[in-house]
Symmetry: C2
Subunit: 527 residues, 2 copies
């Protein structure tokens, strides 16, 4: 059987390399039939050239066409939903319902439609006009964006349909998509629909190239290529750090979502007040997606005491009562076991779980470990290794002062939560600990678990290094996500008919907010 | 004579190292009397610790106090203007009038006052509120900012008074200032006023630390230190790239303005129409600040022809008629001569100048070189080395197609200009070349020289690598410059009285624009 074609320069064509791979069904461990190519440098090179040409063409395309593509693509995904859900289920073992069909697929089409609305409205690019100086600036397209999709959201973060793809296109950039090799066929189906929607919307067909897999060294070579604008990456920390180094050396913006243990601090009063309720919330969050969410609560900080022991026992009971689901791949299962072992080597002890479960497929017992605050402070780096999957670590600090020291050893994270007594018993402690946690995380929560990342303008799915590569940007939340894939462009004394549409005197749609002479306005410029 | 004290943790104190340096008067080459310390790691370490503590304190300070500091500091600079101008003149040889007293000092105080107004108004931090989800985000302070000032603007880019300082403080961050060793005494005077204004405004006194000089390895160590938030740097490309590598490895945002040759493309019709006028503009821009501006037009692209030869002859005559001014230092003079030599080695020929002039002080003949387009295309990297000072290179392309290829070899630059015939004769050529030049520069000009960087909201003093370290940000133009020194912080379900003021239901000043449920508004949130 010949391997699936790749998409380059507006054509589906055979990859130049003969090297191939297949995905597998993680529920059975069986190989799936379709063969996909591992592209060599020749494919990467052609993808870069095609995307660079498409970047020039896309600059001539107005917001109406881009929005039309995004909406048409959403409709096409919905029309093929049954097939997409079946394929994604086969490749990821994620439940068809509610997860894939009722949650993730609608979320994906909602992202496309929110982006279409933001593109038409247009204020996201912060158009700024100083009339006296005839100086005008906005956030303009950055150039071709290389998107690496993760394993855990086959639709909503897919390299040809998810948040990075949507943001890059909405900001006016072509995409070079590198599929996650765990779900290539799902990606193929989505890319077919994207490609058809490009044609229907009269966008440049080379606005999307798709490669199913590439050798790591070719990824690094792409990252440093002069034709590339920037990178959107969601994946592991080691892979992300290598890409970052390559992109940094070439001065390319790389937006990387790499890892996070999402610390949750439980203050004593909260556990006294409602330890059973909190245990339920925590276990629900831990096991959402079998713990394979970027925002899974992997590290809990509590203070020693009777309430805490009751809380831990309740969490243990709930974890043991819940059936573990299927992990995404053999690799995830192997790395999860290794992470738990690495915690144990530096002093963490098992409360429950800790072992792989028999097949077919990849399963791991729901797992909780605990460690004293003192031990955590002795090896904070190792105990912050992310265990991607259904395992969490509880750090039991001796007292509030030790909890403060634990928090001050935390790396950058996507999220951080503090649970406190609703009647004020924890307020003084909150006031001491919150300022220590707040600058270490992108999204800070009160009395709430971090899973459940709404696609909303105020969302931040980002955070300080090494959670991401830059603390100023988010990977979820339209339209802020668009700003990653832009460059600031100023027009100084440029003749009126040569200006980009958002910077002309006339407000392009009567609703775009622009900063005119220091004041936000929806009016046209009157000189 | 003992060396000047450094400023750390709210106290002027003796540096721990005994190593010192002195500045010199570039007009005479004579050493100036004051001795300044070269700080060792102990000073850096203490500055980082003090700044980290001040960062926490500054988060408790409201916009009124920060604005009050900025305004008070401006008044103090004005009150000491005569002494400041005399000192800066002595250390830089820049003319007292108009440059230092009438242009740069007022620009510096204007920056402070613009920043104060933007801080009070507050919209710059893009407060975003989604009421249904109770999700709120804004651009929050990043943490201590290490500011490296350049040699060429002793006031307006000074590490304790210039754009980076102002932006870091306005965004709520303490500054660790590393003075430029060419004007330490000017920096001392400014820091004294800043320090006094901090006290008068009841800001944390450790909001500013000042080190006069540090070894490069200690700069790199600071850049990677976990206590640091980010970096603002204006200086040479080699120094900037080393800092960038150190900061990138630690995941710290570094905003670096490193070098630019600011290409100017002269289309044939423009030279036919007004070559004498353009020659005047070009020579005026080349010699502004003796060519020691970041935006000096160092590379001109013209097409072969009679109009071009007449233009070059007119530029030559004007350069020869203008008296060269004094360069900023022995180092600038040496590097300028080396850059001109490096151009000559790869085929550029002298049109005029090219040699150092006799002392006292540092002077270089006004210099123009030319090179054929073909030769430029053979060694584009070497011919884009910035010659910081009064020297420019003219690339004579054989025809428009070769000019296009020359433009496509250009590195990222701060600015790029195109001059074209005012009646439309160059329009087709403009349409071909402008899209090639536009993505390579931060500020794009028509019929205008790049020098003269207005402090205005729409300004972009930034550009693609290697002009800067990130193409999305600007070093001039309030309030956009503030955004460099921030991180995106989201508050999810955080109790109302624990929210930062810009994100509370009540609009804090009745005028702050906030994106509430997807619409920009100056209203309070009504739930």
């Amino acid at each position: 059987m010949s391997s699936q074609p790749i998409l380059i320069a507006g054509k589906w064509r055979t990859a130049t390399s003969r090297k191939t791979f297949t995905a597998e069904n993680p529920a059975t461990g069986e190989r799936l039939p379709e063969e996909f190519p591992v592209s060599d440098w020749a494919d990467c090179d052609q993808a870069l050239a095609a995307a660079a040409a498409a970047a020039r063409d896309l600059r001539q395309v107005g917001p109406t066409q881009i929005a039309s593509f995004l909406k048409r693509y959403a409709e096409r995904i919905e029309a093929r939903a049954t097939e997409l859900v079946a394929m994604a289920h086969q490749e990821t073992a994620l439940p068809k319902k509610p997860r894939l069909a009722d949650v993730e697929l609608p979320r994906t089409t909602d992202q496309l439609r929110q982006a279409a609305a933001a593109v038409l409205e247009g204020s996201w690019c912060l158009p700024t006009i100083d009339t006296k100086l005839n100086l005008r600036s906005y956030l303009a397209p950055l150039g071709p964006v290389l998107v690496f999709g993760p394993n855990n959201f086959p639709f909503a973060y897919n390299c040809v349909a998810g948040g990075d793809f949507v943001s890059a296109i909405a900001a006016g950039n072509p995409v070079i998509a590198k599929a996650h090799p765990c779900h290539p066929a799902t990606t193929r189906l989505l890319a077919e629909e994207a490609f058809a929607a490009l044609g229907e919307s009269k966008l440049p067909l080379a606005a999307l190239q798709l490669l199913y897999d590439i050798a790591p060294e070719n990824g690094l070579r792409c990252a440093a290529d002069s034709r590339l604008g920037g990178i959107g990456f969601t994946g592991s920390r080691p892979g992300g750090l290598k890409l970052k180094a390559a992109a940094d050396g070439a001065g390319k913006p790389a937006y990387l979502e790499m890892s996070s243990v999402n610390p949750v601090v439980m203050l004593p009063g909260a556990l006294v007040e409602r330890h059973s309720q909190i245990a339920g919330e925590f276990v629900g969050s831990c096991l959402a997606g079998d713990g394979q969410f970027c925002t899974s609560p992997g590290l809990v900080i509590v203070m020693a005491g009777n309430g805490t022991e009751a809380f831990i026992q309740e969490v243990k009971a709930r974890l043991e009562a819940a059936p573990p689901s299927t992990l995404l791949s053999a690799g995830v299962a192997k790395q999860l076991a290794a992470a738990v072992e690495s915690w144990r080597r530096v002093g963490a002890v098992l409360v429950t779980g800790g072992n792989a479960l028999p097949g077919p497929g990849y399963h791991f017992a729901n797992t909780l470990l605990r460690v004293e605050g003192k031990a955590f402070l002795a090896t904070p780096a190792q105990l912050q290794n992310e265990a991607f999957g259904n395992a969490s670590l509880m750090v039991v600090a001796r007292d509030p002062a030790e909890a403060a020291r634990v928090i001050e050893q935390l790396d950058g994270n996507l999220t951080g939560s503090i649970y406190s007594d609703s009647r004020g018993a924890d307020d003084a402690l909150y006031a001491d600990l919150a300022p220590r946690l707040r600058p270490r995380v992108g999204r800070f929560l009160n009395d709430k678990m971090p899973t459940g990342v709404a696609v909303a303008p105020a969302m931040n799915h980002g955070g300080p290094f090494p959670a991401t590569g830059h603390p100023g940007f988010t990977a979820v939340g339209i339209p802020a996500t668009f700003r990653r894939f832009t460059m600031l462009q100023c027009f100084d004394h440029v003749r009126p008919d040569r200006l980009p549409v958002p910077l002309r005197d006339k407000n392009p749609n009567g609703q775009m907010w622009r900063l005119i002479d220091g004041s936000w306005s929806q009016a046209s410029v009157v000189i």
